[in-house]
Amino acid sequence: MVLNQFVWLVPLLPLLAAAWIGAGYVAGWNRGESGERQTALVASGATLLSLLFILALDILAMLNGAPGQLDFGTWLASGDYRVQLSFSLDALGLSMATLVVFLCFISLRFSVNYLHREAGFQRFFMVMSLFTAAMLLIVTAGNAVLTFVGWELAGVSSYLLIAYAYDRPTATANATRAFVTNRIGDAGFILGIYLSFTWLGSVEWPMLNHGVDSIETLSVGLLAFGFLIAAAAKSALVPFSTWISRALEGPTSSSAVFYGAVMVHAGVYLVIRMAPVFEHNPMLMMALAALGVLTALYGFLGGLVQTDVKSALMFAVTTQIGLMFLWCGLGWSEFAAWHLATHALWRGYQFLSAPAHMHMMMRPNRPLRGWLARQRWLYTAALQRFWLDHLADSLLVKPSKQMSKDMQNFDERIVNRFIGLPGSASAVSSLAQWESRHRGDTRVEGDTGDIGHGRGFMGRAMERLASLFGWFEEHLILRGGSEGLLAVIQHLGKYVQHIENLLVQPRYLLLMIMATFVVIL
């Protein structure tokens, strides 16, 4: 099929749109309000093209059957490690891609009006295009490494959009928190890729799914565990759940696709994609189901105590995601895929209409059932989001901070002194330096200044050696050699001059002539 050969255009088009908008902003051809039209046109145009392309592929697939794995040659090769530029266009990949690009397109169209005259209009559209490309890459990529590329790009664009209002400290702090949490998942992903390479020799999805039959159950468990961590972090399953409620700082339309409809489902997609691997190990299936149940409960209880629309929606999303993981854990991955698609569409709509949600409310919330309402401790726990944040803080953040402080102390007290870097305490801003010089003070502390002076152990050694060489150069080569040469010549010249003076006197001339005669005779 000719069309299949161009499937790489699907993720590439939004990526090009992002690059175009970025370049345009740097070069200044789409800045300001006048550039909004062009920006929106480029971003949504590229996404629309991708959408049409995917739809065409869908129709072809319906007529002729899905094309399956497509290989466009080697992307990276080093020794036995080989990463193909391949795409998985099976039923799952195609339907996910259609869903993703459709939702992204809708959300982009929505944002054209929603973000009108916002300061970061171009930035928003650039990151959204980048995100669209990333998500399309995740769902169409034919191997784990390409998926991981999209996975990371999606993480970065999520970070950029949470911190969309980067002048607000909460937005940037939450963005960092979300990003760092996602990095834990990335570590798991990399572990999975590494183990697939070593044990299976390939990272292509079909190879991965079939290859696990040949290795031990325990190994499969470890391999799949890496991917499970990745999926759990991206889809905000229980130990990682809190980042997603912090992620709502971004503009509503981005929240809709990122956390309502698209990105949050990436973890579910990964588990469905790897269903044969997970099914290989019953322990993992149980872990999936348990995580799903826990997350669903967390989402349900947490959602009950939320007071604003977006947060309530967010907890509803968490609940549904938990359910999807439960289905996967029970082995119903096809059902999970259907759930994913319908949920994504419905939640996307809900998030986009969230700003107007209060107007659409016809009746008050249903009161809680009595037995649940009586559980005061559950109320507190739900309000505190089950202390997951505190747990992470005291288990990970605080020890890391303390360790880094210790490292810094070690650096400042020992390493810096040894290699001669000025410690941070003695660093002086240039204004202060200037002022103190202006007042006629001697050199500011920490600025030893003079040429040829070293700091620290190596610097001192270098200084000693250099001054030794300097002495040698000064005394023996310059003064002794060059000037000495001149002095010797001048000295000799004086002697010769002396002899010459004597010779020109008549008596010595006569003597010379007589001597000559004596020799001749």
């Binding site: 240039s430 204004l431 330096q433 200037w434 010089r437 200044g449 003079d450 040429i451 040829g452 270098m462 050696l465 250099a466 001054s467 060489f469 300097g470 150069e473 080569i477 310059l478 050699g481 060059s482 000037e483 040469l485 001149l486 010549i489």
Partner: protein, 487 residues
């Protein structure tokens, strides 16, 4: 008349034309000088098209008997080692003349001498007869003596005298060696090829004695550690354009001569290999440390030249293909880098009238273009990847490692020291507290920027696409290294 003779003749004709011009019209004189050197530049660079880099033999050969009884001849020719030097010489001469805006008094004599100097330098690289080589070698002294003595800085008399004494002293040894070699030949000839054949046939002991003479002669010029006394003085005191030529090309004459002498007396070089490498590594560290100690900017670049020429000597001492490639490459790279540095520092000195590094600060604000080009030149001096110096140092290290193993780690230490003073200088010059004295300094003018730009492009081009330059040299270098492959 051959094209090489034309190349030699052009600057001479130019200086003759300048004699006829009225002394009062400085601008006209300058334009004529720029035109002539530009024409020479174009002519030499047009040879690239017809130069066959796959051919290791001499090309564009001209041979006219000069004194038949003595066996001397007017023989010119270029190969893959001398051709890059010729290109470098015409380029740097052009840039030096372009950068001579500060020479206002008696510019007639100045430009005349500069053009004569260009001819002499080109002659050294093209001569294929030792007698002719020696004539051109000595001919470079005369214009240089006057250029330093007349237009130099405070200690110029001392510096020029010193320079001439040292070089003459060295060339006496060279001359004696040549005459001994000449004397020992059955067919009396000064032709390089004939002398090489005769030299190869001599016993190792004799070769060694003769080579020592050459080593002193060329070592003074290069310079090698204990006989570099003329260099700091001459570089510091010479006017900046002359410094460009001094460190850009004059030093390369020494190393070029050494390569030629090595092919003439291969057994001697093989037996001295270790000593040469020791001298090279010591020069490298010694020059670097002294450069680090200098607060005079020109002094710093002068000592860094000692350090960089140590890399050349090390490359020559390896006597293998990689090392020799590194040596020739470093000759080109250092020519470009030192040229650029002396050019920029010279221009800076014209504006601030101080060479003390402590007087400078925060130039980034007032002179961003200076900052850009100077940083680039210093980065090239350190041999960062992507600059010509990196290609050269890498070859020298690889070649040296193949021969001596881990000892060449000293070269890396030399590179580290050069990074220390380069970065310190960049920091001092361009960053730091704002000082009132350094405000309002004029930035690079367009012609100055063009000169600096050409050199920077050269540094980057060779760094990024080294294949073009390497290809030009490779055939000849394979031939030279082939001489030592057996020994």
């Amino acid at each position: 008349m051959g094209i090489l003779s034309l190349l030699l003749l052009l600057p001479v004709l130019g200086s003759a034309a300048i004699i006829l011009l009225p002394a009062g019209n400085g601008l006209l004189i300058r334009r004529v000088a720029i035109g002539v050197s530009g024409l020479t530049l174009l002519l030499s660079w047009s040879l690239i098209g017809s130069f066959d880099s796959a051919n290791p033999a001499l090309q564009f050969v001209e041979h006219v008997p000069w004194n038949v009884r003595m066996g001397t001849s007017y023989a010119l020719g270029i190969d893959g080692i001398s051709f890059p030097m010729v290109l470098l010489a015409t380029l740097l001469s052009f840039i030096a003349i372009l950068a001579s805006t500060s020479i206002r008094d008696s510019s007639k004599g100045y430009y005349m001498l500069m053009l004569l100097l260009e001819t002499a330098m080109l002659g050294v690289f093209m001569a294929q007869d030792w007698a002719l080589f020696y004539v051109f070698w000595e001919l470079t002294l005369i214009p240089l003596f006057f250029l330093i003595d007349r237009w130099g800085g405070k200690g110029r008399q001392m510096a020029s005298l010193n320079f001439v004494l040292y070089t003459m002293g060295g060339s006496v040894f060279m001359l004696v060696s040549m005459l001994v070699l000449y004397d020992g030949m059955p067919q009396h000839s000064f032709g390089m090829a004939e002398m090489a054949a005769a030299g190869n046939a001599l016993s190792q002991h004799k070769q060694l004695l003769i080579f020592l003479g050459f080593l002193v002669g060329f070592g003074v010029k290069m310079p090698i550690f204990p006989i570099h006394g003329w260099l700091p003085l001459a570089h510091v005191e010479a006017p900046s354009p002359v410094s460009i030529l001094l460190s850009g090309i004059l030093l390369k004459m020494g190393s070029y001569g050494l390569i030629r002498a090595a092919t003439t007396l291969p057994e001697a070089v093989v037996s001295m290999q270790g000593i040469l490498a020791g001298l090279a590594l010591f020069s490298l560290v010694y020059g670097g440390l002294l450069a680090w100690r200098q607060s005079d900017l020109k002094g710093m670049i002068a000592y860094s030249s000692v350090s960089h020429m140590g890399v050349v000597l090390l490359g020559i001492a390896t006597l293998n293909q990689t090392g020799l490639t590194g040596a020739v490459m470093q000759m080109v790279a250092h020519g470009l880098v030192a040229g650029a540095l002396f050019l920029l520092i010279g221009l800076l000195y014209e504006r601030t009238h101080t060479r003390d590094i402590n007087d400078y600060s925060s130039l980034m604000r007032s002179t961003p273009r200076f900052a850009f080009f100077t940083v680039l030149a210093f980065v090239g001096a350190v041999g960062m990847p992507g600059t010509a110096g990196f290609v050269a140092e890498l070859h020298a290290i690889v070649g040296g490692f193949a021969r001596w193993g881990w000892v060449v780690v000293l070269l890396s230490i030399g590179v580290m020291i050069s990074a220390a003073y380069a970065i310190r200088t960049i920091g001092r010059l361009f960053t730091g507290p704002v000082s009132r004295k350094m405000q309002g300094i004029e930035d690079l003018r367009t012609p100055e920027m063009a000169a600096a730009g050409i050199l920077s492009i050269g540094i980057l081009f060779i760094g990024i696409f080294p294949a073009t330059a390497l290809q030009m040299m490779s055939a000849s270098i394979i031939q030279v290294s082939g001489l030592f492959a057996g020994g």
